[in-house]
């Protein structure tokens, strides 16, 4: 199992200058400390395996002045921690996790979307639990940040439709 660099891929032509990996990591820390009221400094950039474990994933899609997808993936254990923080509950159900991860994707996605050209719209989030990270045909993974939070993996990916390619 190959552990990739914490930041990749970087060489994909994008329709606008994407936020840097630092900015994306900072965005996650802001969400951690503000919405989740957890310690944002607990998020540490670190390379993660590209495949293998199942993930809990929230995705929002962008359409309009630019097209793409913003994907927040994490281990099921971290998804449970996030959900418990958002709902202020000790025990959470799969429905709770789906709701919380969807909202996390919505918040992160909205911020990333606003860094691109407008006007653009954001889809409702869609969530998959305990599955492989989704791939998006016709799009390319343009920016990725891998984070470890108290030993649990978290990945933020920005997929765009490359210039010159129709979606």
């Amino acid at each position: 199992m190959t552990t990739l660099d914490a930041r990749s891929p970087g060489d994909v032509a994008t329709p606008f200058p994407l936020p840097s990996a630092d900015e994306l990591a900072g965005l996650l820390r802001d969400v951690w400390s503000s919405v989740l009221t957890l310690d944002g400094e607990a998020l540490v950039e670190m390379g993660l395996p590209d495949a293998g474990p199942t993930w809990s994933t929230g995705t929002v899609s962008v359409s309009g002045a630019w097209q793409g997808h913003i994907v927040v993936s994490m281990s099921p254990a971290l998804a449970t921690v996030i959900t418990a923080a958002m709902l202020a509950l000790d025990d959470v159900s799969p429905e709770d996790v789906s709701d919380a991860i969807g909202e996390l994707a919505n918040i992160v996605g909205g911020t990333v979307k606003s860094l691109g050209p407008g006007p653009s719209g954001l889809s409702l989030p869609y969530v998959s639990l305990d599955a492989a990270v989704p791939l998006f045909l016709g799009s390319a993974l343009a920016r990725r940040v891998d984070i470890v939070c108290d030993g649990e993996p978290l990945r933020l990916g920005v997929w765009t439709v490359p210039e010159g390619v129709s979606s």
Binding site: D30, V31, S34, V35, T83, M86, L87, A88, D96, D99, A100, G102, E103, N106, I107, G109, G110, T111, K113, S114, G118, P119, S120, L122, S123, L124
Partner: protein, 126 residues
């Protein structure tokens, strides 16, 4: 004072509801704009609606437009609480009748500050 939190995410309703409850509001919830309108028709009317933008059935912008069409609901304060942060969308929401706009992610203090600016926390504990 009564607050109606409108968001399709239960997690977000929990977070926003907790913040405004701590400010002294009596809080009720709705999962989309249509459910919120149905709640308001049944009464009692809220003093404040905190409404998300992207929701199924009826989104936040359509909800605000509907509320503004009803002269009997003129006294309700409408605050958009949303991940939509494009300048154009903020202008659209305010033009449609929203009184304030809070962008996710936000801190509890940021939301409370906005409510204070609207004069909605007078007499409430903060």
């Amino acid at each position: 004072m009564r607050a109606l939190v409108i968001d399709d995410s239960r997690a977000m309703r929990s977070i926003v509801g907790h913040i405004v409850r701590n400010l002294g509001f009596e809080v009720s919830e709705a999962g989309d704009g249509q459910e919120a309108l149905d709640t308001m028709v049944e009464g009692p009317l809220p003093d404040l609606c905190l409404v998300d933008w992207n929701m199924p059935v009826m989104d936040g912008l359509a909800f605000i437009v509907k509320v503004r069409q009803n002269p009997e609901w003129r006294g309700i304060t409408l605050m958009m609480v949303t991940a939509e942060s494009e300048h154009g969308n903020i202008v659209r929401a305010l033009a449609a009748g929203a009184h304030e706009y809070v962008i996710k992610p936000f801190t509890p203090d940021a939301l409370a500050d906005k409510l204070e600016l609207l004069g909605l926390t007078q007499g409430l504990v903060r």
